[in-house]
């Protein structure tokens, strides 16, 4: 009896997805470097998508500029290490802080813009940051990029194999999923859903919508910054174009959409499907057909959107499954 309840409980299902991803990734890392590479990127992208989902799926803020946080995190960690010798183990937290600060700076003026205007504003941030990075080579090495020298040392997050990176990325994902989980239940679920459904009405009931939106953006920015930092450490070479690119911002959305938006598992599912698909196509055709992966992904996205979300649905409103009875139990279970 207890076991079935455990299996049914939402928390354990969410944990289950995470553990599945972790298991698959560990196995992949042990199999071969190629598989391990997919696993690391999949875990990182899963976190990227989950962080986007906090803003988009839960709160209704369509961000088209996650690359801004990603890039800032990557550069913060990489530069601290390469220039000041500060270990990335501290660097990723600095990256989180920078992501948070950036979120505050960008969010404060732009979050009061409505729908499409906010989306357009988010597009600008990575472009500006990239330009600043290119224009200040003394600080950032400009277009030459930053290289993390290969001197394996666990103390500086430089490893020879993939497995350690898998574990780091998985830890990050776990944090992201935990935050997402907490935000999608109880009082936060109700508060964010109200804000998302009708901001005006939410305000008239006392919800300080500006603060909530900024808060969610700050968390999302911090998480995304950390993803950027780990990515920089793993790939060991970053340039303004690679980390501030629109592609990364779009990937964040793709991961969430493919994974089903709004649910805690969306990031995991989407991340593994997107990265897996891409890497598999790339490795299969070995660059004979550049762009094929994007073609498949774009088509899948189109079909998904057409089929799943129907005519009047909103992308940012997750499909509500489950019986009303379950909802009552949720609201009655005080945490």
């Amino acid at each position: 009896m207890a076991l079935t309840e455990l299996v049914r409980s939402r928390t354990s299902r969410e944990a289950g997805w995470f553990l599945l991803a972790l298991a698959v990734s560990i196995v992949a890392a042990l199999l071969s470097p190629a598989w391990g590479h997919i696993a690391v990127l999949a875990l990182l992208w899963a976190t990227l998508g989950t962080a986007w989902n906090l803003m988009g799926g839960l709160t209704g803020l369509l961000s088209l500029g996650q690359a801004a946080f990603f890039g800032v995190g990557a550069y913060t960690s990489a530069l601290l290490f390469v220039k000041l010798g500060i270990t990335p183990w501290i660097g990723i937290f600095a990256a989180a802080a920078m992501g948070a600060v950036l979120a505050l700076v960008i969010g404060w003026p732009t979050l009061r813009l409505s729908g499409p205007y906010f989306a357009l504003a988010t597009v600008a941030a990575p472009v500006i940051l990239s330009a600043i990075a290119v224009a200040n080579p003394d600080l950032t090495r400009g277009t030459l990029g930053v290289i993390i020298p290969f001197r394996p040392d666990p103390g500086t997050m430089v490893f020879t194999g993939q497995l350690p990176y898998v574990l780091v990325a998985a830890a990050l994902l776990a944090a992201a999923m935990a935050i997402m989980s907490a935000a999608s239940r109880g009082r936060w679920r109700i508060r964010l859903t109200a804000l998302r459904d009708d901001e005006n009405a939410a305000r008239s009931l006392g919800i300080r919508t500006a603060r909530v939106k900024i808060g969610v953006t700050v968390v999302s920015g911090a998480l995304t910054g950390m993803v950027g930092a780990v990515y920089a450490q793993y790939i060991a070479f970053i340039t303004p174009t690679s980390v501030f690119s629109l592609d990364i911002s779009i990937d964040a959305i793709l991961v969430a959409v493919i994974g089903g938006i709004g649910g805690v598992r969306a990031g995991v599912v989407g991340g593994f499907v997107l990265v897996g698909l891409r890497q598999l196509v790339f490795q299969q055709f070995l660059g004979d057909y550049p762009g094929l992966d994007t073609l498949i992904i774009g088509s899948v996205l189109l079909v998904l959107v057409l089929v799943l979300y129907g005519r009047n649905g909103s992308l940012l409103r997750p499909l509500r499954l489950g019986r009303p009875g379950r909802r009552r139990r949720e609201t009655e279970e005080a945490a």
Partner: protein
């Protein structure tokens, strides 16, 4: 006991138009005051000024003796002023009960407490059977009551109802009236903008008639609703009040 609400010489002008001209009124705790008047007479503007969402051009608004300055919607709600709007939508992704819980949760109540408050309020507005249904399942009349329930769950000291009977048909009207009656508290002031004279007669302690931005007459419902100036301006000179007070203004 001081007035919950005091409006002193409130004038609001925008762009050459005078929406409110030197309006004064007071609402004591426990009182229910109805504001009537033709469309465009400045009633909703008055509400916006009272709720501090807009600046008055001149005059003051005192809430519980404290003068109000311009505030955001959220700040106004947190101060204890609750307001319903003509165009407002329920949170469609939440259930009825969850909709009502939003307010108490923001006041710091726990999930369980908020649910208890919501249950009590839903009882008052007669929406208990729909508590765990998604808000999308509610009819217009029910949604109006849900709006009332949502704002009541915040336990406001001043309740501003903007045409709460708007769009409610005859069948559902008694439920709405019942809900408003149940909302009365000795420490709460209620002001309602109303077009439905049956509601006004049934609920109001006092009626204030506003025409062209000015208060033309003020007093008990029987007096104001028979007043010639009001009748002419508002109801049209062909209106004849019937014995049972069944007259409805406008449509």
């Amino acid at each position: 006991m001081s007035a919950i609400l005091e409006v002193q010489g409130l004038t609001k002008r925008f762009g050459g138009l005078t929406a409110c001209a030197d309006i004064s009124l007071a609402v004591a705790p426990g009182e229910l005051v109805a504001i009537i008047g033709p469309n465009g007479a400045g009633k909703t503007t008055l509400f916006s000024c009272i709720a501090a969402e807009q600046h008055a051009t001149s005059g003051r608004v005192l809430f519980d003796g404290t003068p109000l300055r311009r505030r955001s919607q959220a700040a106004v709600a947190r101060m204890g002023i609750g307001r319903t709007y003509q165009i407002m939508r329920p949170f469609l992704s939440l259930t009825t009960a969850e909709n009502v819980m939003v307010g108490p949760l923001e006041r710091g109540r726990s999930l369980r407490e908020a649910r208890a408050v919501a249950d009590a309020v839903l009882e008052d507005v007669r929406l208990t059977p729909s508590a765990d249904l998604p808000a999308t399942a509610l009819s217009t009349g029910q949604r109006k009551r849900l709006e009332l329930a949502r704002v009541l769950a915040r336990e406001p000291r001043l309740l501003l109802l903007d045409e709460i009977t708007g769009g409610v048909d005859r069948k559902n009207l008694p439920d709405v009236l019942h809900a408003v009656r149940r909302a009365r508290r000795p420490d709460r002031g209620i002001v309602m903008i109303e077009h439905n004279m049956r509601a006004v007669r049934a609920l109001a302690d006092r009626v204030v008639a506003i025409v062209d931005g000015r208060v033309v007459v003020e007093g008990p419902p029987e007096v104001v609703l028979e007043d010639t100036a009001v009748v002419r301006a508002y109801l049209g000179s062909s209106y004849r009040p019937r014995e049972s007070g069944e007259g409805d203004a406008g449509a």
